[in-house]
């Protein structure tokens, strides 16, 4: 670890927070329907959309109406995307003449993009037609991110409002999230990416002749624009198979910084939006502090683990000062690779600028654990916020009792119904992750996909299901996931992780919004101080993480100990 490295990490995170703050306040105005700088341009457009879609923007929905609307459009999105892939050989814009996508892969990919996971069992440039890429995958990149923002807004309103049943209008929130937030940001970021040298062209692939005289096809395309929404929307599905490690997706240190900044931006900003909408900025800051405290700790561990190197490599003559450079790009360096690795997993982004399978055992344990903690640090666009609110509810429940009051969060009493739903929500992840991992660990069919033996192989399986259920989408690599077993089960894990999780969360919002806000008093446990931050971290680690300890012990932890003795897998 170097001071320069830490300086880079600190500066980037400061830049994220400094820009997320005004963005968060801007979003609060947008979703309250107030005038913003973009209103003169966008509000006529917004009105046209409502008229065309026959949506009355003033008519609000209950939690059920809101959730059903969300499920309807996402269900439709899934069917459309699935159909596009299954029939791509019959449809236009398929210059390379790709065949129909097999049913299990289409199922997996459609769920993957609908659930904001963007797990890719395939190589994009060799499987999907342009039509699928543009009308299918890119549309979902926007839609799934906007869905996340809308859901976060609904949950925020549950705590901001008092004694009503309505949580807002899903169609309005969806439209505003896309129009006022995602589109303008992706346009700006796309230009910035182009400036750093990321290609943005509709021209065909170029053919080059290498020095040895061999022919090489250089894949090109509208990469900058794709990259922008991939990062902004914490989608993470890359244009190229190797994602942001590819020199065209991420050509320089500057583009790398831009990638990190843009993927952290909205999830961070939403904590400010939350604070503003519930009427107490400190509440949002407390959540932000929790997210960043764990994020920075994760970065520190990865950075330390990777720079301390691998004993067997050092024994073989590798310069110990280099640390473990396997699978990393020299142009990013250790510090920013560590930050990227932890940010992309603390978020549910899943874009990668290094191969996670090449990280040291502890370096690989951190991203895995960040995902398993529930993708709330700071989590996917929107999903991070509502995920951490669920953890906050669990925290105030225990903490509230300890100060001798029935628990309340932001003035709302937390009672049996909320607990039932919160417990239901937090059961989803362990069920999907550990259930499928255990099944795969026993099935010969599943085991044949492994590239590595021993504990590393187990980690590959565990990582795949964690990534899917957490809607992250990054892969540990090494696992050949494009098989019917993995495509299907990972697809189900993604479905559960997104939708089976969010329905109980929305039901909590529906119950909470009806409660009248209880006045705070000195006897109320304050949810903005250092104590709450510490407790929430504790609850996230214990309730969110303890159940994975045995499987992590059998994977990364034992591997780390073995590595110290010179044994690798």
């Amino acid at each position: 670890m170097t001071i320069a490295g830490w300086l880079q990490i600190t500066l980037i995170l400061c830049a994220v927070i400094a820009s997320a703050w005004p963005l968060g306040l801007y979003m609060a105005r947008v979703f309250r329907g107030e005038k913003t700088v973009l209103s003169p341009v966008l509000s006529p457009l917004e009105r046209i959309i409502y008229i065309a879609a026959k949506v009355d923007p003033k008519k609000e929905q209950t939690w059920l109406g809101y959730t059903l609307a969300m499920l309807a459009i996402n269900g439709l999105g899934f069917l459309l995307l699935y159909a596009l892939m299954r029939f791509q050989h019959l449809l236009p814009l398929n210059p390379h003449g790709f065949a129909a996508v097999p049913s299990d892969l289409a199922f997996n990919t459609a769920l993957s993009f609908v659930s904001n996971t963007n797990w890719q069992s395939y190589g994009g440039e060799t499987t999907m037609s342009h039509l699928v890429q543009m009308a299918g995958l890119t549309v979902q990149n926007f839609l799934s991110a906007a869905t996340g923002v809308a859901l976060a807004l609904a949950v925020t309103r549950a705590f901001a409002r008092s004694g009503v049943t309505s949580l807002g209008n899903f169609w309005v929130d969806l439209t505003r999230a896309t129009l006022y937030v995602l589109l303008p940001l992706s346009i700006i970021v796309a230009f910035a990416f182009a400036l750093t040298g990321v290609p943005q062209t509709l021209a065909a692939n170029t053919e080059a002749t290498t020095l040895e005289g061999a022919k090489q096809i250089i894949a090109l395309g509208p990469v900058a624009s794709q990259e922008a929404i991939k990062q902004i929307g914490t989608n993470g599905g890359g244009f190229f198979n190797v994602n942001a490690a590819h020199p065209f997706e991420n050509p320089s240190a500057w583009s790398n910084i831009l990638s990190i900044w843009s993927m952290l931006l909205i999830s961070t900003a939403l904590t400010f939006t939350f604070g503003r909408l519930v009427g107490d900025m400190r509440q949002g800051l407390a959540l932000l502090t929790v997210m960043y405290a764990l994020l920075v700790n994760g970065v520190a561990i990865v950075y330390a683990a990777e720079t301390s190197g691998v004993p067997s490599q050092i024994a073989a003559g590798v310069d110990p000062a280099m640390g473990n450079m396997e699978g990393k790009e020299v142009r990013f360096g250790q510090a920013l690779t560590a930050l990227y690795v932890v940010a992309t997993t603390g978020l549910s982004c899943g874009a990668v600028n290094a191969m996670h399978n090449s990280l040291t055992p502890i370096g690989g344990l951190v991203p895995l654990f960040m995902i398993q903690l529930g993708e709330i640090l700071p989590g996917g666009v929107g999903s991070g916020l509502y995920g951490i609110v669920v953890m906050a509810i669990l925290t105030v429940f225990v903490a509230g009792l300890m100060v001798g009051r029935t628990p309340e969060y932001l003035g709302k009493k937390i009672e049996a119904r909320e607990m039932k739903l919160a417990v239901l929500a937090i059961l989803i992840l362990p069920l999907a992750i550990l259930g499928f991992t255990a099944a795969s660990a026993m099935l010969p069919l599943a085991l044949s996909s492994l590239a590595n033996a021993g504990p590393r192989g187990l980690t590959e399986i565990l990582y795949a299901y964690s990534s899917a259920a957490g809607n992250n989408g990054s892969a540990f690599a090494g696992l050949t996931a494009n098989t019917p077993w993995y495509n299907t089960t990972l697809g189900i894990a993604m479905l559960l992780g997104r939708f089976a999780y969010v329905v109980p969360v929305m039901a909590i919002a529906g119950a909470v919004v009806q409660k009248t806000k209880v006045a705070a008093s000195p006897g109320t446990f304050p949810t903005h101080g250092g104590m709450f931050v510490g407790l929430l971290i504790g609850v996230i680690l214990i309730l969110g993480g303890l159940q994975y300890f045995p499987s992590l012990a059998l994977g990364s932890i034992v591997e780390h100990i073995l590595m110290q003795t010179g044994k690798t897998f």
Partner: protein, 681 residues
Amino acid sequence: MSTQPIALFDSGIIRRAAFDAVSKLAPRQLVRNPVMFVTGAVALVVTLIFLRDLVVGDDDLAFTGQIAVWLWFTVIFANFAEAIAEGRGKAQADALKKTRSDTSAKVLLHPEDGRDDIFETKSASDLRAGDVVLVETGDIIPADGEVVEGIASVNESAITGESAPVIRESGGDRTAVTGGTVVLSDWIKVRVTAAPGSSFLDRMIALVEGAERQKTPNELALSILLVGMTLIFLIAVVTLWGIASYSGTVLSVTVLVALLVTLIPTTIGGLLSAIGIAGMDRLIRFNVIATSGRAVEAAGDVDTLLLDKTGTITFGNRLATDFIAAPGVDERHLIEAALFSSLADETPEGRSIVALAKSKYGVIQPADILGDVIPFSAQTRLSGIDTDGRKLRKGAVDSILTFVGLTFETAPAEFRDAVQSISQTGGTPLAVAEGAKLLGVIHLKDVVKPDIKSRFSELRAMGIRTVMVTGDNPVTAAAIASEAGVDDYIAEATPQDKLAYIKAEQAKGRLIAMCGDGTNDAPALAQADVGVAMQTGTQAAREAGNMVDLDSNPTKLIEVTEIGKQLLMTRGSLTTFSIANDVAKYFAIIPALFVATYPELGVLNIMELASPQSAILSAVIFNALVIIALIPLALKGIAYRPVGAAALLRRNLLIYGLGGLIVPFIGIKIIDLAVSGLGLA
């Protein structure tokens, strides 16, 4: 409650609880507590495996057997905790039941026309609501009811423990009588209001016995969290079998069960109902009966206490606090005159003048004063004594001024100032004269109880506002309010004012507690989140409130709030303790499970436990014993301090959170030393 306070661990209760702990193993009872049900179910599985191995033969027979035994102990210890908490209630209920011996009742056949001699003697158990019974000297009142005619002194010690008789009469706020109490003198006619089996005594017995016990809302919510955690760890443990098989480790059901039971929150799961029962029990020992557990929880949440001034904040009588002499009068002269004129005055005011004169000013009371006592009358509004030719008088200012032949305007300016300043601070001035000479004024004051101000500042630190309710005028009310340190007051309060205040506070999202006794308090008692009715109050008030204070002491509202908070804090702290324990248990069990496959994982065995089997067994034993160790804490409740939420949390987190992390490391290590030393594993 006439019972003696029951010791925390009465040997009779322990014996009965030990028996109940085993009988509660019945699945139908166990299923009420999901965490313990799961523990019981897996204990059964391990027992079956042990029996199978007994037949088939297995190397780990002793180990499996011991695990099975300790798992059963875990469940039995939890049952024991519950049984002991119930036992304390049952003992109290038994004492109450003794007073419920069957009595006969004189049912009037023609209650409306006053022919009291025509009645039919019935058994009390045959009474119906609406019957009118005659109760005479020495009779036991056969049922709950309302006095419709007559006045009697009644001994209510069977219910309240207080042996001084109370007056019950028709009309007004003292009409309610309780079945089982005894009329000491005179007679009353009582209209029965409760059918047999649903009387106040019956309900009290049911409540302390815990027969009507249902899970309270917060207890239910916590149970759900515990069930959720149990399910999460169930998933973790079941899948671990598959995940471990990948690494070539075959985990036996016994060790997986051991891991499961140590990880699920058995500590709080086992103690949860005991904590709830003990909370009600603590209230009962304070002589407060809550009609539901929900009320006790609500008491912990209360934001605002409505307190009646009289009897709660002040002593209820105006007391002399100062003597102010008129110009040109020796203060000693004034005090002596005040003392002499009050010697025959048996009112609290009069006695307080005597007491103040003697204690504060050292005036010696003459051994014996002869003279004509002039008693107080509503017409003259003064009293005094004629002795040795001196005419000593004290009384209302205008009466005394008339007595000495002055008007307020012609009185000395300093005297007028003194009178005015006393009135303005909420006191009552009492003038003193000798013959035609005005001597000065006595300051009578509604004296605020000495410790009440610090009590209120404690409450404020806890986040509870205090509101004083008084019939006094606003000037007096303001003066007393500032002296007592309440946050707000309602002067010239009518029952409607109270109700309106409660509704307004509730609209702001606050929870209100109040106490009251009159029928006109009933709407406010019903509206308040915690309504404590006085046992001496009317039937209507007792029905409207959700608690009844048998001592009829309104100050108890403060203790009730503290008990509510203590109940919730005990639950929260033991939950934290239970969850924090898991970390140490992982460090004990995980290396033990996998050390055969990966000897390298031995580095996680930071407690250096002797062997894998002793590590697992020690963790299971610790898990069982910790329940027993925490029973006293669950029953007594954790220490409560009136400080703000942040300070409370810091303290409890430090003790139960950090303690919960550290204690099992030490405990498991000690048990392991014993287990390996004895060669058990």
